[in-house]
Symmetry: C2
Subunit: 210 residues, 2 copies
């Protein structure tokens, strides 16, 4: 099943097709290696139409970042909310995020691999999304954990770290897939439980100091 | 201080300059967005010289991957070896790897952001390095931990995860640097101790099952 990036209201199918092909090509070849002519051919539109809907390749990238981060933040807001205890919430969030990453694999790869780039226009954009992510993680995970253990890592460590941990399966996919042909594939629920198991061990350690 | 990538024996300074500029440009702009003409201008050589030493942009990328992975594997081999207990070894390795990543930030970013790309020639190259990394981590961390706790995650989770966790600070740098101007910068030793603290909590949990 191919991943779909939903555009803004009033989309028509050409616009969506351009966006979907952009995500697919950027993930496989990289943002910089994908030409607009190639994208037009792949989306079965002409170059003028990409220009009409998006203006530039950067606008496409911003829309992909928007799509990925807004979905990821929604998962964080929903799964980390409510009266459950911290461990239960973290388990639910890690599982929800792992499923979201798997379903939006191409958008994840584009987002992660474009994160360290220097372009000033894209940079402040990413910083804004990143800050929102860290704020939720601070409020819902780090502040409660630090009540018991002042040495618990701050959100500017936990946010990027947790995101990268979860993304590692997809980043290292070429390597992992060669290994898993021998050992059998790991499903996403098992993967999520290994990742949350690691973070939960640290949270439980903080709990014991209470 | 600018990061230096050492080439093979018999290097001359033009060759090294091309390699160093390639790492710097690929990390900032991405592999695909960096043109050979731009690289030639930046390294103060002519295009024919890049061709003479490397043949293609892909050869440059392979040399950067070689440089990064061979150094990272050397850190793993040295820091995870010896008669110390597992917790002490992991602490030493995470600290050593964090320092290595910080000193080779540009090579790290090129390696991580090129990891998921589909190019078949580069793919088997990355898979070969990745497998060596997972073998060391399996032997030195996962096999001992699994003696006490059969649910301890396998190397194909721990290897990519630990690498990505450590890389997260550099991947999210644009975001983190905007936050740290308010809160003060975290040094690499403190960062490493947060990361190893999380993995060690999971290892200690396995130990308690012994």
């Amino acid at each position: 099943m191919q991943e779909k990036v939903k555009g803004k209201a009033g989309v028509n199918s050409s616009r969506e097709r351009i966006l979907n092909e952009a995500v697919r090509l950027f993930a496989r070849k990289g943002f910089g290696s994908t030409g607009l002519r190639e994208l037009a051919a792949s989306a079965e539109v002409n170059l003028a139409m990409i220009n009409y809907f998006f203006g530039s390749k950067k606008t496409l990238l911003k829309e992909i970042l928007d799509h990925f981060f807004s979905g990821y933040l929604a998962v964080a807001r929903i799964d980390l909310a409510g009266p459950d205890d911290l461990e239960r919430k973290v388990e639910r969030f890690v599982r929800g995020a792992a499923i979201y990453f798997a379903e939006n694999r191409d958008s994840l790869l584009v987002t992660i691999t474009e994160l360290p780039r220097d372009d000033p226009e894209i940079l402040s954009y990413k910083a804004n999304w990143g800050r929102q992510l860290m704020d939720i993680i601070d409020q819902e995970i780090c502040v409660p954990a630090r009540k018991c253990d002042p040495d618990f890592p701050p959100a500017r460590v936990v946010g990027p770290m947790l995101t990268s941990m979860l993304a590692s399966r997809f980043l290292f996919f070429p390597v992992i897939s060669k290994i898993e042909t021998r050992t059998g594939e790991m499903d996403i629920a098992e993967y999520a439980s290994h990742i949350s198991g690691i973070l939960l061990a640290r949270i439980k350690q903080a709990d014991r100091d209470c």
